[in-house]
Assembly symmetry: C2
Homo-oligomer: 278 residues x 2
Amino acid sequence: MSDSNSSFRERLERSCQDKQSRVVVGLDPRYDQLPEELRRLQPAEAIIAFNRALIDALADVCVAVKPQAAFYELWGAAGFEALRLTVEHARSRGLVTIVDAKRNDIGSTAEAYAHAFLAPDGPMKADALTVNGYLGGDGIQPFLEAARPHGGGVFVLVKTSNSSSGELQDRTLSSGETVFEAMARLVDRWDCEAVVGGTWPEQAQRARALMPRATILVPGYGAQGASAEDCLPNFRNDGTGAVVNNARGIIFAQPWPDGPRRAAETMRDELNRALQHS
Amino acid sequence: MSDSNSSFRERLERSCQDKQSRVVVGLDPRYDQLPEELRRLQPAEAIIAFNRALIDALADVCVAVKPQAAFYELWGAAGFEALRLTVEHARSRGLVTIVDAKRNDIGSTAEAYAHAFLAPDGPMKADALTVNGYLGGDGIQPFLEAARPHGGGVFVLVKTSNSSSGELQDRTLSSGETVFEAMARLVDRWDCEAVVGGTWPEQAQRARALMPRATILVPGYGAQGASAEDCLPNFRNDGTGAVVNNARGIIFAQPWPDGPRRAAETMRDELNRALQHS
């Protein structure tokens, strides 16, 4: 039993050291872009086959996979089962599994989500989950309580990678800080992990300073425009404390099935080079 | 095709007038609290049987049902299918279906969620969905685009009912407004619907003024402590513009199966009485 996120952080960091990699592979199986040979199968079956092949090909190049729940829910119950099987397969290959579901609700309902995604006797059994902190601490605590005893983690959205994230997140509070900085302070108080888009290097610097303990999950690399250098402010000075996600740029890299591994290796090397020169 | 939420609003309002009711029944089937006779079934089967019986008993007393996705996802793929069948049955009984899933993501992923829950050719086919606006407009637009052409609605969280909602939502911006008021302004700009907890009557008054067009979904009545009077500030002066959710206080009212109908009628009458005296 653990009352902090330290065991999750240590496990992820150890995996980064062992593999010399900071790469998280986003498993966002947009059906139209799946290899033609797989699109002969039923959608949920095609997704499972695609993800299993990706996981097998990438298990020693990446430290974690981050399936995006939306692309599974799109296929109803069969898709939800495809997500479960994806998590199961990734875990069996020693990967950290981060379900990107951005769940959020009031306390008693958050307990149900937490059990669904993070409990060892729940249906999903993921290592970690992304959540949205707009509801405040009593909506986050149930996730932490479900995750921590089993070495799991909870990633709270701080500054998201999308172009209109500033509409609320960059608003200035009367304290002089922005909304996302207030969220970063809450993340530090809750002692959990954070999501900060790679597309916002300046904001990342401020978020990193406010959350010294947190591991930061960095989306936005590649298709969304962030370079390895853009992601650097999310790391600590010693090169720890962050992992970087890429979905489309890896999983749909041509040609199938060798493209994804090559793309993941290239990303791993670019991040390592940038970290060495920082 | 409609480019605003007016057709959704009109449909919900007409149903309120026809039934002289403002009641939304929260279908949150906490398994431990299901009637003993149903707990002999598999959990997902028990949930479907419970919800169908509730919907049949309550269809003329309430205007909408609001299944909370967490209590279905808790049972994995079978639970997701139970949610789909619940929505299907409620629609067949003429009820507006609001899936309370608080989804949120960046634009291209929000499209997938929107299709999953709101598209006529998606798996869920709900009339409306709750979403979290922390990511800003490009995370909301895809939901509106999926909902509007079919008379559907999108409810954005403005001020949530839970006790720690103020940790972020009540923070004051440099403009003098709070974070939830900034969100209310965004909701008005996006021309969508809103969620405002019945537990915060003062904040509701301000939110109502900032979102003159929105229909407000009011959770927090009953078990969470809000009275009919507490919910009033969410209504317009003419008594339109809001519907009030109650889950536990209705669906687990004893004895089964007559308790829920009696509880829903009592709530309907209490709301109508409060509205007449305001």
